[in-house]
Symmetry: D4
Subunit: 169 residues, 8 copies
C-alpha cells in the first residue's frame, strides 16, 4: 500500500517528478504515481485528494508548471501534508510555477520546495514520516553521512589531481 | 436573473471587484456577487461553476490574489468564458496573482485582464454579451464616445488654464 | 466568411499563432490570418480593426511580442472581443509581451492568455461563440471529455509500465 | 515540553512570526520562540538545530528576511522537518527571502510557505503532527469547516446588504 | 509655434510630464501639452502624430503608464524623434510601462528615458535641437556647469557642517 | 568624416552593434566603430566623448552589457545625443544592461532602445539627423513604405499558400 | 588623514551613506564624505579616484542609485578596493542600482553589498584594513561578540515576557 | 602556504570558480580549492571558516548557486574578507544566487561580485592584498595597462579590416 502519492499536472512533468520516486525507492518507501490535472481532470483530482487520508497516504508530492494550481487544489481537499514542486517552464523558467504554488492564502498551506526540486520533496516526505518511523530516521542520517562523505571524497580528489584534471575527467 | 457572476477569493477583494459591478450596473446588466474560495470552499466553488451555464450566466468574472487559483479552477468546471482579475498583493504587488491566472495550460483558457482591472473585466464581459445583444453594442459605442469626449474636454481645459493650474485644481 | 481573425505583428509569430488556427479548424470554424503590424502598417491595422464588426468577425486573436501593442491598438478600434497572445521573446522571454498586452488602461480591455498560448486563445474565442451557437457548446464539452480521457489513458499506461518505461517510450 | 520551535533571524521578524504562535496556541500545541541568527549567533543556532530532535521537537518553523539563510542552515543540522517563512523586506519585498529559502540544493529540503505566511507554517506543522495525533486531525477538520462557514456567512451578509454597504461596514 | 509636443496617455500623468515642460520653459523653447490616449482617442492621436512634422515639431515627448502604447503608436505615424517616458504605476512600479515603451520592434524606434524621467526627456529633446541651434548648445553647457557647480557647493557645505547637520537642515 | 559614432564596451558586442552600421550604410551616412570600454579604457573613452562634438559627430550610439556604464559615462562628457543599446547578457538576459542604461539620473539623458536594438538605434540617429537633412527625411519615408510593402507582400503570400506552406518554406 | 572615502552620487543618498560613517566613527577610523557624481561631475570624480591611493585611502565606499555608475567608474581609476552600495530607488526599489553595480565586467571588480547596506560596506572596509591593523581585528571580534550578546539578551527578554508583551514594548 | 581560499558549494561550480584560481596563479599568489557545502558539510565548513585567519588566509572567495548560503555562513565564522560569487543556475539564471549572497543583514558583510564573476573575485582579493604588498600593486597596474592595450589593439584591427572581417575571423 503506497504511503506517498507523487502526482503531476501533465505527463510532461514525469521526467522531473520521477526523481522523487527514485529517492523513495532508495529508502524503501512505497509510493504511487498519478497524473492528476487540476484543470483537465478536476473531479478525479478532487476524489484523489479527498480520499488520500483514508487510503493511508502520509503525504502527497504534487508537481505542476505555469499556473500551477494542482498542489493548492489538492491541499484544499485533504489535511495530510502536501508538498509542491514548481516545474520549470519554457517561458518564465518556473517563476510562474513557484509563485502559483508558494503564495497560498492563509488556511491552506503547501510545503514548497525548489523549482524542479522533486528529490527534495521526497526527502521532506521522508523526514515527515521519520517522526513516527525510527528506521527511517537512521536511513536519513545515513543518507546525510553519505552526502558528506561524497563531498569529502571529491575534495580529496580535487586536492590530489587539481582543478584542471578534475574538470577534464 | 443574473447574466454575469462576479466572484472573488476573499471579501478583502470586494473593494476592487465592485468596480466590475458598478460598470455592469451602469450598463443595466444583471449580475451577482459571490465569495467563492477555491481553497476554503472548494465544493461550493465547484458547484457554482458547474451550474453556471444552466443558471443562465454568460460569463464569470473571477478575482483572486497570491496563488490565485480561483479563475482557473472555475474555468475547469464550465465552458462559459471566465475572466480573471489578478488582485494586487502586499508582498509581490500582484505579479504572483497575474502569473497564477494568466499562465493557464493548454485546454482551459482564462481571459486575463490587468492587475486590479475589474472594470475592464466587466467591459470585456459586456463586449462578449454584445455579440448577441445589439442594444449593448450601442451602449458600448456610446461609452467609448464618452471616454473620447472626456479626454477632449480635459485637453480643452489644459490648453485654457495651463498645466500648473490644471494640477492645482 | 471568417468568424475569427487571427492576426500577428510579424510573420515570425506565425509558428505560434497557427496553433490557434489548428484549433479553430478542428472545431470547423472559419477564420483568417493577417499580418497586421501596429507599427509598420498602422493604417491597414486601423482599417482591419474598425471594419471587423461589419465584416462579421466575432473575435480577434492578436499575437505580438516585445513592446506588443497590436492587441491593444486593435481593441481601441472595435468593440468585438480582442484576445491577446503574448509571444515569447529572445531577450525577456515574453514578460515584455505579457505586460504590454495585459496591463491595458481602464476602458479598453484585452483578454490576455498565457505567453505563446495561441491554442487557448482559440478555445476562448470558441467559448465566446458557443454562447450563441449550441452546436459549439457540445463540441467544447466533447473536447474537454477527450482531454480528460487522454489523461486517464496516460495514467493507465503509467501504472502498467511504470515511470522508467513511460519516459523511454 | 515544546513540540514546535518558532525561530527567527531577528526580533524585527517577531510581529510576523507570532502569527504562527497564535495558531499553535489555538490548537493547544506547546511551542517555543527563539531568536536564532544564522549569521550573528552561528554556534547557538547550530546547537539549537542539532539538539532539536532529542529535545522532542517535531518541526522547526524558521522565519528570515533578505539573504535568509536561517531555515537552510537549521535544516543542515537536523532531520526533523524545517518550515521556512520568507519575511517581507523593505527593498525587495521578500523575493530575496523567498529565493534564499526555497531554492535549497538537493539533499537538504526546506518546506517553504508564502512570504510572511507564518500562520500557514503553523498549520503545516500541525498537519505533520496530525499524522500521529488523531485529536489534531479532528481539530484541523474543524478549523477547515469553520473557515468554510465563515465564508458562507460573509456571502450571506453580502447578498443581504450588497457590496456598497458591505464595504462601508 | 511649439517646437516640442509633450503628450501623455492620461491627465493623471501630467504631474510627471510637466517636469518636461518646466525644463523647456527654462530653456526658452516653445512646446505644447496634449492628452492623447492611444486607446481612448486613437484617431486624434494618429492625426496628431501624422501632422507633427508639417506643424514644425522637432520632437515628441510621450509619457504613458501600464500597457504604454502611446510612444510607439505615435512613432509609427511620424519620422521626427519620439521620446518615451515610462510612467510609474501603482501595481508594477513602471516596469510594465518601461517594457511597453523600450522593447520596440525593428523599424520604429522610441528613445526611452528613465521611469518618470520627464525632465531628461526634455533635455534629450534640447540636445537634439541643439545640433542645429547653436544658442541651445551654449545653454546646455551652462546647464551642465550649473549642475556641477551645485554639487560642488553641496560638497563645500557637507565638509563644513558635517553629515549630521547637513541631514537635519 | 563620420557623422555617427558606433561604440561598444567590448568586441563581443560587435555582432549586435554592426546592425547599426549596416543601417547607416544603407542610408549612405558615414560612421565609425570604436571599442571604448568605460572601465578598461576610461581616459580614451572620456577623450572620445569630450571631442565628439568638435569632430562633427551628430550622435553617438553606445552598446554595452551587464553593468553597462558606457552610454551614461559618454553622455556625461558631451551634449550631442547619446543613444544606448543594452546588450543581451548570458546571465540576466540584458535586464541588467537595460536598467544600467535607461535609469539615468536627472540631468544626463541617454536615449535607450530595446535590448540588442542596434538597428533601431541607427534609425533613431537618422531621424535626428533628418531634422536638418531633407534628403534623409525622404529616405526614411521610403524605408517605412518599404517595410509596409514587405508586410503586405507577406500577407499576400500567406493568403495564397496558407500558414502550413508558409512556415515550411 | 582619512583612510576611507565615503562617496555618493547625490546628497539625497547621504541619509543612507552616513550609516557607513557612523560605523567607522565607532571603530575610530578616519574617513571623508564626498558627493561625487559620475555624470554631473565626471572630471572631479576621475581625479578623486585616480589620486585615492596616493592620498592614503585604503578603500572607497561608493553609494549610488538607479543607473548607478559611480562605483564602477571609480573602480576604473584606482586599484584600491571599491565597495559599492546600491541605493534603494523610488521606482525599481534598488534592483536597478544593484544590477548597475554588481554586474561589472571582467577586469574591474566592485565589492557589492546589500541594497542600502552602507553599514556593512563600512564593516567590510574595516575587515580589509584589519588584515594589517591588529587592533582593528580585536575591535571587530568585540563587535561580533556584542552582536551575539545583544541577541541573547533579546532572547532572554522574549522568554521572560512573551511575544505579546515584547511586541508592545 | 595558501593566502586565498577558493571554496564552492558543489564540484559543479568548479568550472566557474577555477577562473579565480587562474587569475591568482597568473599573479603568483598561493591559494587552495575546497568544496565546502554549507548544507551537506556544515561542521567542516564551520571549521574551515573559523580557522581561516590563523591559517594565514587573507580572503575567502566563496561561490554558490540557488539558495546560496555558503558565503554568508562562512562570513559568520571569520572576520577576514569574504568575497561571494553567485553561480548561474538552470532555473533562475543566478538571480536566486545573487539575492542569497548580496542581501546580507547588518553586521556580517559579503563582498559580492557579478554572477559567475569568479575572475573579478580574484582581482578583488588581489586588490585587498595589494594594500600591504607593493609588488602586487605594480602587477595590478600592469594588468590594467595590458587590458587597455588589448582593447587598443582590437580597435586598431577593427579599423583596419572593418566589422565584417573582424567578425568572421
Amino acid at each position: 500500500m503506497p504511503k506517498i502519492g507523487i502526482i503531476m499536472g501533465s505527463d510532461s512533468d514525469l521526467g522531473v517528478m520521477q526523481e522523487a520516486g527514485k529517492v523513495l525507492q532508495d529508502f524503501g518507501v512505497d509510493f504511487e504515481y498519478k497524473i492528476c490535472s487540476a484543470h483537465r481532470l478536476p473531479y478525479e483530482t478532487e476524489r484523489y485528494a479527498s480520499t488520500a487520508s483514508e487510503r493511508g497516504l502520509q503525504a502527497i508530492i504534487a508537481g505542476a508548471g505555469g499556473a500551477a494550481h494542482l498542489p493548492g487544489v489538492i491541499a484544499a481537499y485533504t489535511i495530510i501534508p502536501v508538498i509542491g514542486v514548481p516545474i520549470k517552464t519554457n517561458t518564465l523558467s518556473g517563476i510562474d510555477s513557484l509563485y502559483s504554488i508558494v503564495q497560498m492564502p492563509r488556511g491552506i498551506p503547501v510545503a514548497t520546495v525548489a523549482i524542479n526540486g522533486a528529490a527534495n520533496a521526497a526527502l521532506l516526505a521522508l523526514q515527515i514520516m521519520a517522526l513516527q518511523e525510527h528506521a527511517l530516521q537512521q536511513k536519513l542520517l545515513d543518507f546525510r553521512a553519505d552526502m558528506a562523505h561524497e563531498v569529502m571524497l571529491k575534495n580529496k580528489k580535487l586536492n590530489e589531481i587539481g582543478a584542471k584534471d578534475y574538470l577534464e575527467k
